[in-house]
Structures are given as C-alpha cells and as structure tokens.
C-alpha cells in the first residue's frame, strides 16, 4: 500500500526529469495526477502518436463555456512525462483533483474560483536569489540529492514549512478552496488504497499539495468528509485542444504560466541527454541564438558565440550564482552578439525563448462547442477549411452566399481570421464580396480561446464585439465596429456597440474625432440598406454625433495652426462625404450653419475656411457673389500670402471644374497671383502647385486657356492658339503657366 507523493513544479523540466527517474526507480501500479477527473475519460488519447504537445486539457461547463479550466501540457511538463510513462506500460492513470462539476457549480453559487497558489517553487527560488526557478531546482534540489525520492522528500518538507508560514487567514477564500481540493484528493487516495491495498500508487501533484497527501499524516475522516459531501453539480465536458508555446505563459488550472517555454525545452532536452555538461548547455543555447540572428541577416560569428559564453559565465560569477541562467545568456548575447541593442534580442525571445510550437490532437479527440458549431456551419454552407489559399467571390443577393459572408464577418470579429477580404476598397455598397480563405492550424487555438465568448459563432461574436466596445474610447474604432456588426448580422452586437459609441461621443470634446465617425456610420446606413438590415438606430446615433460635432466646430476652429487645420480640413471632408450619402435635410441645415461660421469670419485658418466656403457654394447655400466677395477678401494683398494660398487650396480641393466655369472666380485668382510680390510668389509656388497638381491634365489645360482669354482672347473661341495668347499675356499668365507646370518660356504648352 505504499504511496509515493511527487510534488512538482508544473511546467518544470527539472521536476519532469526527476519524476521520470522516480517512476523508473519505483514503478507504480496506479498513477494519480493533479487535474479534475472529468479528464479520466479522455486521458488514453494522450498516448496516441498524433497527440503532440503543447496541448491542453480543456474542461468547461456545458451551459456556460466561459467557465472553463485549461490544463496545458508541454514535452517538459512532469504531468505529461508521467502520463506517457504510465500509458506506455499499461499502468492505469486517473486524475485526483476536485471534480469540475462541483468546482464550477460552487463558483456559480458565488464561491470564488480556486486557483493554484501561484508558483511556490519559484517563490522559494526567488528567496534564494534565483530569478530562474529551474536553475534553482538544478542547484538546490538536483545537485544536492542523488535519489529522486530524496529530492521529493526535500521538496515536501520545504513546502510544509512554506505552508506553515502562510500569512493568509483560515477563512481566506484561497485557503478554504485549497482545503476542499486537498480533502477530495485524500478521498481519492483513500479509495485507491482501499481498492487495492497491496498496490503501489504514485501521485504527481503541484509541490504545494504534497505535504497534505502523505497517508501517514492524513487528518481523520471526520475532518475531510463535510468538505466533500453534498456538493452542488453542473454539467461538464472535457476535450483536448492544440496549444502553443506562447500560450504556456498564461495562468491556467496548473497555476502560473511559464515565460520561457523554449528555454525550458532546451534545458529539458539538454539535461535529459547522457552526461549533460553545464558549459555545453550555455554554448548550445548561444549557438541557437546566433543561428536565429543569422536567419535575420545579423552577423553572429562562431568566435562571438565563444565570447558570449565566456561573458555569461563570468556574469554568473559576478552575480554570485552557481551556474549560468537565462538572464546571463540574454545579457551576454545582447552585449556580444547584438552590439548592445535589445531589438534583435526581442526577436530571439519570441522565436527561441518562448518558441513558436503548435501542438496537435488526434482527429478522434472530442472538440469544444464553438468549434463544433463552426464545423456544423462549414458543412451546411459548404465552405470547407483548407490549408491552401482559396479565393471566394460572393454575391450577396443570393441567400446562401450572404450566409457565407455573414459567417466570415462573424469569425473576423471573433478574432478567428479564417477569411480576409480580398478587395476592401470595393465591398461597400455593392452586392459583391471577395475573400481569401486560408485555414492555419493556429486558428484552432484562436477558436478555443474565442470559446470564452460563447458556444455558437453568432453569440460569441456578439459578446466579443460588446466587450471590445466596452473597452474602447476611440470613436472611429467604435464606428467601424458598428459597421462590422451590421455586416456580420449581429443585432445584439450593434445595440451594444451603438450604446457605447453614444456614451463616448457625449463626453468627447475632440471635434475631428467626432467628425470622423460620420462617414463610416453613414456608409453603414447605406450598406445596411443593401443587406436589408434595419439601421434606424445607427441613424439616430449618427445624427446625435453629427450635431455634437456641429456645435463644437466653430470653437474648435479658432486659432488652428497649419497642421491642425489640415487635420480639421480632412475631418470636415469626411463628414461632408458621409452627410452627402445620408441626404438628411435637417442635419444638412445644422451642418451648413456651422460651416457658415467657419466661412465668414476672417480669423479662421485658410484651409478650413476655404473648404467650408466651397461646401456651402456647392450646396447652394452661398451665392456666387458672396463667394466672390469672400474670396476677394481672403486673396487681398493685405492678407498673408500663405494663408491666402491655404484658403485657395481648401476651396479648390482638387476640383478645378469650378474655375473652368466661373470666369469671375478665375479672375480673382489670377489677379491675386499677379499682385503677389515676386519674392512671396517664389515661396508660394510649391504650395499653390500642390493645389493645382491634383487637377487632371485636361483641367489644367482648360484653365490655362480660360486665363489666356481673360487677358484678351475671345471667350467663344473654342481652340485659341496658345502661342499667340501667351505672347500677349500679362505676367500673371506666365505665373499661372508656371503653376500649371508648363514650360512657358519655350512658348508651348505641355
């Protein structure tokens, strides 16, 4: 009836090696592993050849999959090593923690979730001056005790004193939860011993629990029984799911994650080999670092690797550490291989220290509910995942194709980017959509992660959108999200995001930010029409936001510098495009009133005032005479020339037709340019050129012709001879010619 308790560091390669040695030394007849027993039914899958770590056991409440616990396993996890050892030898494996059915039900009833107590061995290591718990294991546990049994005895004793010194009060929720779990573990142990009194049982659990699981020191049954009887239940399911190295760093059912899985793998591989050599450990690691750097075309010679290894060793001595750890290797690599710069090392970190491994699970393994829902829709919509890239064109008027579009949009919101829009520019307002589909294995993990948001794609996407809206203060992002929810046909999402947008807009004082929401929301309204979605609520929020912007506009445009005036001009343009789509007479009236207050006064920055004037002119809100008067004032000699040029740029905004058709305005521009002093003109040239550069060649030609006529040509002459006119022209024509980029001096038009 002997029970061997192996208290490990979860994800600790040192623990993993000791566990393997211990199992070899005293082969058990039964293996009990920390983890909830719901995994018992699928533990055999861990023995299959297609099960490749990192993988995670996922246990979740069927009615509320957000309530879930992950048990990640890497190659170097003691649990993985122990389970594989047992399965290979036909030794039965069971899990001994408090069942999730009770744990989740207790949480539902208000008990705080019982997490593992962090990483107690890392705490011990830190107390001993180590920043790498594995190096501490190596020095303090491994080197000091020859037999694995002695090591685990030492760990258990150390943990007993740590628990002794635990400062938390008895009624601390963490303490209470832990007591219940350990009572359950003892219950399982008692049952196992009773079942087979002569069998040898091995227990692999987190070091923290080890002192509580020694049968000789068990408390009386009466102590444990009340803790584990009459517990509530809820329906629970379990699955294996592929995991990634990066995700091993997340906190999980096994407590704190580890930040350097790649380094741990290296430690595990190296020290599991025959006659491991400390110095080799550093050198082989630095060789890998150098190779990674070289892949990025950074020079890292073998000689430098040797120097880096020497530096790492000296560093560990200077720091008073018995051996080289990852910190020393990092510092040495940075100084010797990266010329002191941290940037290349960051790259090494994501590639090597964390690692980029993706595990896989056998096809026969059960899947999570969200994945099941997606698989169902993929079948019914006949949209199969494939590892190679597919191009898909969808016609949104056909219901089946619209459904595919909706599914892809929902997945995008969920952060499972299976499809990427192939031509983002054209999708709005048309009946066509193009996608590039590519199923990468990581998407399986994204899907599991997205599982926290719901059990169906639709519900999860809505919840995710609402959550993003909750956390975002960026109006443009929110406006975009509204559109995304509409195209993804998520009415709940739309409602939630709109509410957030409305609330944020109410407290937003940044007028350009408000203006920037107008266009995407207006497009959404239009697009909603294409898809036959009700957009009344979007319209309400849009109107409210636009009105807020109109109110703030005049104040916001006072005293703008050149750069902010450009920003404001762009924002006004966007809003104008949006409002034009909307065709809302009331809103337009408010908008024009606000613009009038930018157009009339002379202190408003040129770009903005010019733009406002032009919009009012185009909308028929301003008579040509008024426009001419305002332009005249703005382009008078008294006004600073750069401001005048900015006004003109704002006013024309790349659209020359106006000048072509309005001789009065063209005359004003011409007169202004000819009056400007030569020196000022030179300064102005690039600015005004920019204005005219936006025009098409044909527009420029026509303007040139009109200008010529202003100075004597006949207005009704359809094709004046440019050469002739230029000869008679005033200097202004030359000026305009230069503006338009003509080689005037040679007497010919470009």
């Amino acid at each position: 009836m002997p029970v061997d308790v192996y208290g490990v560091r979860h994800h600790g390669p040192g623990s993993a090696r000791s566990v393997r040695e211990a199992l070899e030394a005293r082969p058990p007849d039964l293996l009990l592993v920390e983890g909830c027993p719901e995994l018992d039914g699928i533990v055999h899958l861990l023995g299959e050849p297609d099960m490749v770590p990192p993988v995670a056991g996922l246990v979740y409440a069927v009615d509320d999959p957000r309530r879930a616990t992950f048990y990640p396993l890497a190659h170097f996890s003691p649990e993985w090593v122990a389970v594989r050892w047992a399965l290979a030898r036909g030794v039965p494996v069971r899990f001994l923690d408090l069942p999730a059915t009770h744990a989740f039900a207790l949480e539902e009833a208000g008990a705080p979730p019982t997490r593992e107590a962090g990483d107690p061995l890392a705490t011990l290591a830190a107390a001993a001056g180590y920043d790498d718990a594995e190096r501490w294991w190596e020095d303090a546990v491994e080197q000091r005790h020859d037999s694995p049994a002695e090591r685990f005895d030492a760990i258990r004793e150390a943990m007993a004193s740590v628990r002794e010194a635990d400062p938390r009060p008895d009624d601390d929720p963490g303490v209470v939860g832990n007591l219940r779990r350990e009572a359950w573990m003892r219950k399982v142990l008692r049952a196992a011993v009773k079942e087979q009194p002569d069998a040898r049982t091995a227990v692999v659990c987190g070091a923290w629990h080890a002192p509580a699981l020694v049968p000789e020191e068990f408390p009386p049954l009466s102590h444990d029984r009340p803790l584990v009887t009459g517990l509530p239940r809820t329906k629970v399911a379990a699955a294996w799911t592929p995991w990634t190295s990066a995700r091993l760093s997340y906190a999980s059912g096994y407590g704190a994650g580890v930040t350097a899985p790649g380094w741990y793998q290296h430690l595990f591989d190296h020290l599991s080999g025959e006659r491991p050599d400390q110095r080799d450990l550093a050198t082989t690691w630095l060789v890998r670092v150098a190779r990674t750097l070289r892949e990025e075309r950074l020079d890292a010679s073998t000689a430098a690797v040797v120097e880096a290894a020497r530096l790492a060793e000296t560093l560990s001595i200077v720091r008073g550490r018995p051996s080289v750890g990852l910190t020393e290797l990092d510092d040495a690599a940075q100084s010797v291989l990266c010329e002191g710069s941290r940037l290349p090392l960051d790259l090494v970190h994501s590639r090597l220290v964390v690692g980029e491994e993706l595990g896989s699970v056998p096809d026969s393994a059960p899947v999570v509910p969200l994945a099941a829902d997606l698989a169902r829709q993929q079948r019914s919509l006949r949209l199969k995942p494939s590892a190679s890239v597919q191009e898909v064109d969808l016609d949104l008027r056909r219901p089946a194709q619209l459904d595919r579009s909706v599914l892809l949009h929902r997945l995008a919101i969920l952060g499972v980017p299976w499809g990427v829009p192939a031509d983002t520019g054209r999708t709005t307002g048309t009946f066509k959509e193009s996608w590039r589909l590519e199923w990468r294995p990581e998407l399986a993990v994204d899907l599991v992660e997205a599982g926290v948001w719901g059990t169906t794609v639709a519900a999860a996407a809505s919840a995710r959108a609402a959550d993003r809206a909750e956390g975002s203060a960026d109006l443009a992002e929110l406006a975009g999200l509204v559109g995304a929810c509409l195209t993804a046909d998520l009415p709940d999402g739309v409602t939630a995001v709109l509410a957030a947008l409305d609330a944020r807009a109410a407290v937003q004082h940044d007028v350009p930010a408000l203006l920037h929401t107008v266009e995407p929301l207006a497009r959404t309204c239009r697009y909603g029409d294409v898809r036959g979605v009700d957009t009344a609520r979007v319209r309400d929020v849009l109107v409210a936001t636009a009105v807020r912007a109109c109110v703030g506009l005049p104040m916001a445009c006072a005293g703008l510098d050149e750069e902010s005036a450009d920003v404001m001009g762009t924002a006004i343009d966007g809003a104008q495009r949006g409002l034009a789509l909307l065709e809302d007479a009331d809103l337009d009236a408010t908008w024009h009133l606000a613009l009038e207050r930018l157009s009339a006064p002379e202190h408003v920055a040129g770009t903005v005032a010019g733009r406002a004037t032009r919009i009012l002119l185009d909308a028929g809100r301003l008579a040509r005479d008024d426009v001419a008067r305002r332009m005249g004032r703005r382009l008078s000699v008294a006004a600073p020339a750069p401001q005048a040029a900015a006004w003109l740029e704002g006013f024309l905004a790349g659209d020359a037709v106006l000048l072509v058709h309005d001789p009065a305005l063209l005359g004003l521009v011409d007169r202004w340019l000819s009056d400007v002093e030569d020196a000022v003109f030179e300064d102005l040239l690039p600015l005004v050129r920019r204005t005219f550069a936006d025009f098409s060649k044909a527009e420029r030609r026509t303007i040139g012709e009109r200008v010529s006529r202003l100075h004597g040509g006949r207005a009704d002459d359809p094709a004046p001879s440019l050469d002739l006119d230029l000869e008679q022209a005033t200097p202004a024509v030359l000026a305009v010619g230069r503006l338009l980029g003509w080689e005037v001096a040679r007497g010919g038009a470009a």
């Binding site: 430098a304 530096l311 560093l315 200077v318 910190t327």
Partner: protein
C-alpha cells in the same frame, strides 16, 4: 592633439581615484573575493563601488552610476573576460563618467585617456618620440614617448578611449591589432611591447554620431557593447540629477539644502518633454530642439542655478536662477531652436498655473 592627463594635485576636479580614495580603500580592505590578474578589486567590489552599498564594517559606498544594475555587471564582466568594453549612448548618459569610475576601481587609475577627435593621430594610440633625444641619440627606448594605451599595456592597466567614432578610421585600425594581438610592435627599435595581464580598453562612443567615422566591423567585433540608456522615468532622472547636483554643490562649496532642489523636478520635466516631443500627460505634441537634452544638461542647468542662487540670491534655487540655463541648453540653433522654445513656452509652460513664475522668468529673457 592627444591630451594625456597627468596627476597633479587637482583642486578643480579630482580624478575618481582621488575623490573616492576612502571608499576604494575601504572596499579593498574587506574584499576577499578572487581578483582577476592586476585588478585592485574583485569584480564584486568594483560593482559595489559603482552601484553603491554598505559594507560589513559599516562603510557606506555612494552610488556613482544610477541605473540598471545589469548593465554595470555586464560591463565589469566584460573587462574581467579580457574583452574590450564599448560604452555606447547619446551624449550625457554617463559614458565617460562610468568609464572613469570603472578604470579607477579596476586599475586604481583613470588617467590613461585618449581623447578622440578628428585630429587624433596614431601616436596617441601607440607612441611618439622625444625628438631632441631622437636626434641626439638615435632611436632608443629612452627617446620613445609612450601614449596612454601603451602605458596601460606596460602596466597591465585600463586605458580609456573617449569618443572613439570621432577618431579617423585609419587611426581606429591601430586599435584592432592592439586588441587582437595584445602586442604593440616598435619597428624602429625592432622590439615589441607585450601587454601585461590586466590590460584592457574602455571606449566610449556617441550613437547619435552615426556615420561620422562608423566603427569598422572588425573593430566592433573586438568589443563587448553596453548601451547606456536615457533614464526611463521622470523619477529616476530627478534622482540622478538630485544626487549629482548635491555632490557637485558640495565640491564647489555651494550650500545646497534639499529644499532648494525642488526646482529639479521642473527642469527635468522640461528636458524630458522637449526630448520626447510630447508632454508628460501625453496630450500635447511639441517640437524637439536640435540638441540632445540629456540628463547631463539638466545637471548643469541646476548646478548653474545653484551657483546663481548662492552668490546672488538667498541660496534657494528659483525659476529666475534656472531660466537662463534652460534657454542656453535648449537654444543651440538661434532660429529653429528659438521657435521651438517659444512655442513650448506659450503652449505648455504658460498653461501650467503653478509654472507661472517659470513662464515669466523665461519670457523676460526674450
């Protein structure tokens, strides 16, 4: 030309090994850890000297470099593995300062320095001649005038090369063979100098100067590089300035009560905002001047302010005492920088109510 600094009873500015002779002696007395050949102290003691601490016998070691411990550890470990050390960073990040203290602690002398300039010649890195003797006696060891690097090789000490990237490339090349062969041939005498154990080089270079005389990759490979950063946070930087200004004030015999140092916070804030191009609250973007506004500039603005306050005021440093210093530090280019400074005054300083005095003091300067 090269300036070889000679030991004189310095009054104005003592060398590190003089100014901190007590601390170095106290460290040597308790230091029982292994020392690399020719080192006056163990690496541990050198680290304690640079980073500060309290010894078993109660002696307090003042911190010299305030910043990341690991950088200093890497620097010391490099020297202990016989690898030359390159301290890289923008101006005013304590490259020279750290190099001097490392040399003082390791070799007991920080005076074997080559000051790198465009005019630095190979003689500075090798040796020159006493021409009178050369002409009279012909080439001999007596007629040879060793440069600082050669002297460091002969004595197993640390030589410092300041502003390495300012030195012309062909002269830099002389360092490559010295660092790789650890010998210095003297063809005129058909001899060579072999470096004694303990010889090493600490070089500094400004990584803003990029492209001036970029280090050849052959030379770069001889060095372990430590990049000294600008301080991460306002508090760290204030702390550095406070420490240094107090020390400098003491050596100039300026009475600096900590009260009067409250101005530091503002000076450092101005420097950091102009350096980073954004106000501390991250709300307002501002333009940066052409000069690097380093911690060292803040130290010098404050030290000047302290002197002004001590000699012409009541000893408390106020806005009036630092305004001119700030202006001088920021406006290096009379046109561009002045605009930057004006804009900063009008858009940032002016809007801070509690900075009213500073605003007025700066505006009065024009």
């Amino acid at each position: 030309m090269t300036q070889v600094q000679v030991d004189t009873p310095a009054v104005l500015r003592e060398h590190a090994e003089q100014a901190y002779a007590d601390e170095l002696a106290a460290l040597a007395a308790v230091d029982d850890r292994p020392r690399p050949p020719s080192w006056r102290l163990s690496p541990w003691a050198v680290a304690t000297y640079v980073l500060g601490g309290r010894l078993a016998d109660g002696t307090v070691i003042t911190p010299k470099y305030l910043g990341q411990r690991r950088l200093v550890e890497v620097a010391i470990s490099s020297l202990a593995t016989d690898r030359a050390l390159l301290l890289l960073g923008v101006p005013g990040t304590a490259k020279t300062w750290l190099g001097e203290h490392l040399a003082a602690a390791v070799s007991g002398s920080s005076t074997l320095v080559v000051q790198g300039t465009a005019g630095t010649q190979e003689e500075a890195l090798r040796y020159g001649w006493n021409y009178a003797r050369l002409l009279a006696e012909g080439p001999s060891r007596e007629a040879l005038v060793p440069g600082p690097v050669m002297r460091a090789m002969e004595t197993g000490a640390i030589a410092r090369v300041e502003e390495l990237t300012r030195i012309p490339s062909d002269v830099q090349d002389a360092l490559i063979s010295i660092l790789s062969e650890k010998t210095l041939p003297i063809p005129e005498l058909d001899e060579e100098v072999q470096a004694r154990p303990g010889f090493n080089v600490i070089a500094t270079a400004n990584n803003r100067d990029k492209g001036v005389n970029e280090l050849s990759s052959a030379l770069r490979r001889r060095f372990n590089t430590v990049v000294l950063p600008l301080p991460d946070t306002l508090d760290q930087e204030v702390e550095i300035v406070r420490t240094r200004v107090t020390q400098l004030g003491a050596s100039l015999e300026l009475p600096a009560d900590l009260e009067s140092l409250s101005e530091i916070q503002r000076v450092v804030t101005v420097m950091r905002e102009l350096r980073s191009g954004v106000t501390t609250d991250q709300r307002t973007t501002i333009k940066s001047p052409s000069a690097t506004l380093s911690t060292a500039e803040a130290i010098s603005v404050m030290t000047n302010g302290l002197a002004l306050a001590a000699h012409f005021g009541d000893g408390v440093v106020r806005a009036d005492d630092v305004a001119a210093g700030l202006l001088g530090a920021v406006v290096k280019d009379p046109v561009q920088d002045r605009l930057v400074w004006q804009e900063y005054l009008e858009t940032v300083v002016r809007n801070r109510k509690e900075w009213n005095d500073l605003y007025r003091a700066c505006r009065d300067l024009g």
